[in-house]
């Protein structure tokens, strides 16, 4: 469950992102890739960050790992991992956390794995950075991890190169590499995008199993609502660098609050609804992060702009307001009215 305000118990949340901004100054202007993002995440929980390309979801995750170059990106806000602000700690401290306390699984494992080193070599390296251990011990650990993520014949596979693995196996190896140090936080950036659908399901299943086993917190970044529906507890929908809606999976799927989320859901094939002739895409394109539309960034593509009096959608940036218990959205339309509109459109379509 996402809390917008700190819980009244004194315990600090495991991961707390507060008002995160990531801006890139470029020759063409300031790119506001992430513009005010807040969320909290507890151990054993999974949060899904959903959005189109360029909505800022990957940039936010790289910021948590501290992988933005300070010369290129301007970061502000707070990222508190067990109370420690990752934006202000030293380089060596964040390096010690990176790969150890928090690890990342990247999209497209073929390009994310080094082509000239064996899988085992790369896992061993990840292990030895954070552990004082011998080569043999690290190798044993690598084989163990490969076995754990379901790679058959790990003793032989450990000495193979990434190009000798299939796509799904490569992603498993990538996950093994990320989990080799038992990280408390795992960030998966589009972990299934480059994979076949059947393999996708296996990988997601594997991540759920591993989470149960290791109790880690997972941030899963995807543009695929099906993926978050499968694994996430909470969802953040991002648009134009901002969170436009957040809530639990069930809330976001059954009572979506933001017109953008409606669009996303309508453009997704559903098994639980009567099939209509065609999917409804959201008209238009995602906005440029340099030149965001004034007011609500979604307003040029929003079909319900007329619901709001005056020109507020075009002049005033909406606040992220609680619409109902634990679920909030960034929209000028009155929450009750939104519920009506959604019920009506959903009713018409079924």
């Amino acid at each position: 469950m996402i809390r917008d305000t700190p819980a009244d118990d004194s315990r600090k949340p495991f991961l707390e992102v507060k008002d995160l901004h990531v801006h890139f100054p470029t020759d063409d202007g300031l790119v506001r890739a992430v513009d005010g993002l807040d969320f909290t995440l507890e151990r054993g929980q999974t949060i899904g960050i959903v959005g189109e390309s360029g909505s800022g979801k990957s940039v936010a995750s790289l910021a948590i790992l501290g992988l933005h170059r300070r010369s290129k990106a301007k970061l502000s806000g707070q990222i508190l991992l067990e109370g420690e602000d990752l934006l202000t700690v030293s380089d060596s401290r964040i390096r010690a956390l990176r790969g150890n306390q928090m690890a990342m699984v990247f999209q497209d494992p073929l390009s994310a794995l080094h082509p000239y080193y064996t899988i085992g070599n790369q896992i061993v390296e990840a292990y030895l950075i954070h552990h004082k251990a011998g080569k043999q011990e690290a190798r044993k650990r690598a084989i163990e991890m490969l076995e754990r993520v379901g790679i058959p014949n790990p003793g032989r596979r450990v000495d193979q190169y990434p190009h000798e693995f299939s796509g799904g196996m490569r992603q498993r190896a990538m996950i093994a590499m990320a989990l080799v140090n038992d990280p408390k936080l795992l960030i998966a950036d589009e972990p299934t995008t480059a994979l076949d659908v059947t393999v996708q399901a296996q990988i997601l299943e594997l991540m759920k199993d591993l989470q149960k086993e290791f109790g880690s917190a997972i941030i899963i970044i995807t543009h695929d609502l099906g993926v978050v529906a499968d694994v996430a507890d909470d969802i953040i929908v991002m648009y134009g660098g901002k969170c436009v809606e957040k809530g639990t999976v069930d809330e976001v799927f059954y009572t979506p609050q933001h017109p953008y989320t409606w669009g996303l859901l309508a453009s997704m094939p559903r098994m639980d609804k009567v099939r209509r002739d065609r999917l409804d895409p959201i008209p238009g394109n995602p906005p440029s992060l340099i030149n965001l539309p004034p007011g609500c960034a979604f307003n040029p593509r929003c079909a319900h702009r007329g619901e709001v009096e005056g020109d507020r959608c075009r002049t005033e940036v909406p606040e992220l307001l609680e619409a109902k218990q634990g679920q909030s959205a960034r929209c000028h339309i009155d929450a009750a009215r939104r519920a009506d509109i959604y019920a009506q459109s959903a009713g018409l379509k079924t």
Partner: protein, 337 residues
Amino acid sequence: MLYYIIRRSIAAVLMLAVISVVTFFMFYASPTDPARLTCGKNCTPQSIEANRKALGLDKPVPVQYAAFVKGLFVERIFPDDPAFQKRNPDKVTVCPAPCLGYSPLQTKLVTDIVKERLPVTVSITMGAFVLWMVFGVGFGIVAALKRGTIVDRGLVALALVLYSFPAFFIALLMYNYLSTQWGVLPPPNYVAFSESPTQWFQGMLLPWISLASLFAASYIRLTRAYMLETMGEDYLRTARAKGLNERTVVMKHTLRAALTPIVTVAGLDLGILLAGAAITETVFNFQGLGRAVVSSVQVFDLPVIVALVLVAAFFIVIANLIVDVLYGVIDPRVRLV
């Protein structure tokens, strides 16, 4: 792997055979009469014919070629005329296998010419190779790491300047200023390594530096380009995400990928240069293979031309083979089958 090497070696031998045939026959397609060149102004038609017979030039070209190939495996005696050999046993030249032929113009065995000149060329080339690999690749890495800074721009500009000037100009400038005028470097002079390693080293310095500066120029740009390309790769982000420090990311992960393609280029450049660095040899007056090629082509010295073309082809073919095999070792994605 072994099968691959054997197969490639056979292909290399075939390639050399084809090259030798082509060189041989191309030479005879030219309008110049090689026998006419063997005597000076006071040639009579009789002496030309006598020379032609003595040199075996009266025989059909395929027969001459066969004699040449045979000489690579068994001893040859010049002139190839049993009657003459019987009459004047002291005037014949014995050419032990592998025999590359006999140059009537230089009255020398071609094998000896190659033996004399190869060490000169190898000395120049290998020394320059070490220099340009160290500095060219080194500066290329520095330029890439300092991309956009004054260091990067300076190195790229330097490379452009060095690369733009003709080789002889750079060599002459260095000769004139570094050695003759300022006396920074010892005058270039070839002393065999076996005679005196110190003098060999001192005499080689200037040719090394001038030849290396040319190649270093292109290697700076090449290395920089490969480095920048690699620095954008996703797997470096993965390496950082593991918690590796920046030094290891650069020195291990980036270099490993960026330098692999350079091995190919370096091997081929080395092979080409071993066949003779004609301009550098000429400027510094070194009697290397390159100069031998130029002078023998100018005077139509067939046996020398054929032999030197073969030596050149040999180095290039071998360099190619080594590069291919090496690539299979350093890039696991390349399968040698």
